[in-house]
């Protein structure tokens, strides 16, 4: 890879696709992994599949026996299931953020990572949706939380944050899915036109909807894409805001705080980009995408992680300050108990992973070292999971009445369910890498210098 960034001849800015690839070379590089199966892919796919099996076993036993197989007890009625839910939803934020917000800000570097990031979003949200579903005592009647006309004449309680969740997360999932698919249409057409086998021809043919790159289509298409980005931007901010309401709207000390919405959104972006790095860094080297996902991309993401991580750290500090400033003994005890109570180790893990480790990104060398980035991104994932654990469990296990205080510890089934959810996530992601272009071909082409109608190949590049 290049030691220094190449410059765009027209704009003079760092180029987004290095080594002067032609349009055709772009198509070739991106399509290659889809058309040539690799042994490494199979290894990963089978491993993920095994974890997925673990998930199915855990869920089977769960449905048979009830949530009692988990470590929940009376004061702590929400445990790992909710922690995992918030964790996955958080991760599911980066994708839409990259594709929507950065699009609105005309951040062209997004084009080479947004496809994979959006895919990650969708799979993460699928994992997230899994947990509230199965953690319910009677999942088979979960549909009662939807406003469906029924012979009982009963309707859901729209005051409950859980109901807001149902609408927020499902809307978010639907919109992200459509956004992703719209972006895919031209590339599916590309795959259709390159397809060798009949099956692929038909499959890609159907899903590309007969796309033929007509300018009249591009016109509506770009409009729709812009609008979707405009809609997804407030949506992505609203989702984790509403998830944070699950806690903020309750009156439990440690949950009942107004800082939660911004704090959760920052945390979500933080964890989301963490996961993007975790996925992209191996991906770019295995699929030879260094020309698309350049060090510049990685560095940009590192900067975002640094910013959001610092915001999260600020939120941690502010919680304590407000708890103390409120003069409410229940409130301030809840936070003191987080840091110094039975779960001090969880709090310590959280702070060191989320606040301290990202500070290394002040150093350019670290920002531009894929290995360092990868390691720190793992820390970020761990830290953010612990953040949700700390919020959920430490607040519950010591609340108002000391008589009902208790200690919570997970069971084997809590662990297998979490691992299994990773199985689900990676299985889906493997399939994605295998059958869909992991880089938005059309979009990448559109940001290359030669895509500009005023670009003159015969003219002097470095003039």
């Amino acid at each position: 890879m290049a030691a220094f960034d190449e410059l765009d001849p027209l704009t003079g800015r760092k180029v987004l696709v290095e080594n002067n690839l032609t349009f055709h070379e772009v198509t070739e590089t991106v399509a290659a992994p889809i058309e040539i199966p690799s042994g490494r892919w199979w290894a990963f796919f089978l491993a993920s599949l095994m974890l997925l099996g673990l998930l199915l076993v855990s869920l089977g036993w769960l449905f048979w026996e009830g949530v009692g197989i988990w470590g929940l007890n009376n004061p702590v009625d929400w445990g790992w299931a909710i922690v995992n839910f918030v964790f996955w939803v958080g991760i599911g934020h980066a994708g839409t953020l990259i594709s929507a917000v950065l699009f609105l800000f005309r951040q062209k570097w997004r084009t080479s990572i947004n496809r994979a990031a959006e895919a990650m979003t969708i799979f993460a949200v699928i994992c997230a949706l899994l947990f509230p579903t199965v953690h319910a005592g009677r999942p088979w009647v979960l549909y009662w939380s939807l406003p469906l006309p029924n012979q009982m004449g009963m309707w859901p309680n729209f005051r409950s944050p859980l109901l807001w969740d149902v609408f927020a997360v499902s809307t978010y999932f639907t919109v992200s899915l459509m956004f992703w698919y719209v972006g895919l249409i031209p590339d599916l057409a590309t795959m259709r036109d390159r397809a060798k086998t009949k099956a692929r021809k038909i499959a890609y043919g159907i899903f590309s909807l007969g796309w033929r790159g007509s300018t009249r289509h591009w016109q509506h298409y770009e409009k729709a894409y812009l609008i979707l980005a405009g809609l997804a931007t407030p949506l992505v901010l609203s989702v984790h805001t509403i998830v944070s309401f699950d806690f903020a709207v309750s009156q439990l000390p440690g949950w009942h705080t107004t800082i939660f919405p911004p704090y959760f959104v920052a945390g979500a972006i933080f964890s989301g980009f963490g996961m993007v790095l975790t996925l992209m860094i191996p991906l770019r080297s295995w699929f030879k995408l260094e020309n698309f996902i350049t060090l510049k991309h990685l560095e940009n993401m590192a900067k975002i992680i640094l910013v959001t991580g610092t915001m999260v750290g600020y939120a941690y500090a502010m919680e304590f300050f407000i708890a103390w400033y409120s003069g409410n003994p229940y409130e301030s005890f809840a936070f003191a108990n987080r840091a110094f109570g039975d779960y001090w180790w969880a709090y310590l893990t959280m702070v060191s992973c989320n606040v301290i480790s990202p500070q290394l990104f002040w150093f350019k060398a670290i920002r531009r070292s894929p290995l360092a980035l990868f390691i720190i991104s793992i820390f970020v994932n761990i830290g953010m999971w612990f953040e949700r654990f700390v919020i959920t469990v430490t607040s519950l296990h010591h609340d108002f009445l000391p008589s009902s205080w208790d200690y919570y510890s997970p069971t084997l089934w809590d662990v297998t369910t979490l691992l299994g959810s990773f199985g689900l996530f990676f299985t889906l992601f493997c399939l994605f890498c295998r059958y869909l272009p992991i880089i938005a071909i059309a979009e990448v082409k559109s940001v290359m210098p030669q895509a500009d109608p005023h670009y003159d190949p015969k003219g002097d590049h470095h003039g």
């Binding site: 005051r159 639907t174 259709r192 909807l209 300018t215 016109q219 509506h220 109608p453």
Partner: protein, 181 residues
């Protein structure tokens, strides 16, 4: 002069190498006053629609209307269920706790607006349309890779095989062919 074939001719398909060329070509075709023609590119070429003289898309209005109706529908649903249809005392809160109804209202607004954007776009583009005459040309397969095309349809009033072909040749097309319908 190519003799008229049995099959009906859809139009003339001209192929170009770069955005720069097709941009110029489109302007020429537009100025020649053709109506029923179109250009095909692997990616959206900036301002090509203007070069073709297309009117701006109306999609925005559709999305706006659907978004508003989604939001108001959501608020109506919540008001009706919790005030008229199923009023029930919950935590001494008013039946119509509109403050608490904001999130669902917002989400439903976004949801319907997004549906409008996606399905509206497909409708305006008449997609899905799995058959199109251009697909009859082998070369056209590269339109999703790195080639750029202009197709002037035979149904255009100004269409005439010779004139049109010369016009296209004048635009520096790398290759020109007739595509059957």
């Amino acid at each position: 002069m190519a003799k008229p074939s049995k099959k009906k001719v859809f139009g003339l398909l001209a192929e170009y190498e770069t955005p720069r060329e097709i941009f110029a070509a489109c302007e020429k075709v537009r100025d020649a006053g053709y109506q029923k023609w179109d250009s095909y590119t692997p990616f959206p070429v900036h301002n090509l629609d203007k070069a073709m003289g297309l009117k701006p898309s109306m999609l925005g209005w559709l999305v706006f209307v659907c978004g508003i109706s989604g939001a108001s529908g959501g608020m109506l649903l919540q008001w009706w269920t919790s005030t008229i249809e199923y009023p029930i005392i919950i935590a001494a809160k008013p039946y119509f706790s509109y403050q608490a109804f904001v999130p669902v209202t917002f989400e439903l607004g976004i949801l319907l607006a997004s549906f409008a954007a996606v399905f509206g776009m497909l409708a305006f583009n008449r997609l899905p349309q799995w058959y199109h005459s251009c697909f009859n040309s082998e070369r056209f397969a590269r339109v999703t890779d790195d080639k750029f095309f202009i197709c002037i349809e035979s149904t255009d009033p100004k269409y005439s095989l010779e004139k049109t072909r010369t016009l296209l040749e004048g635009t520096g097309a790398a290759h020109i062919e007739e595509v059957e319908d």
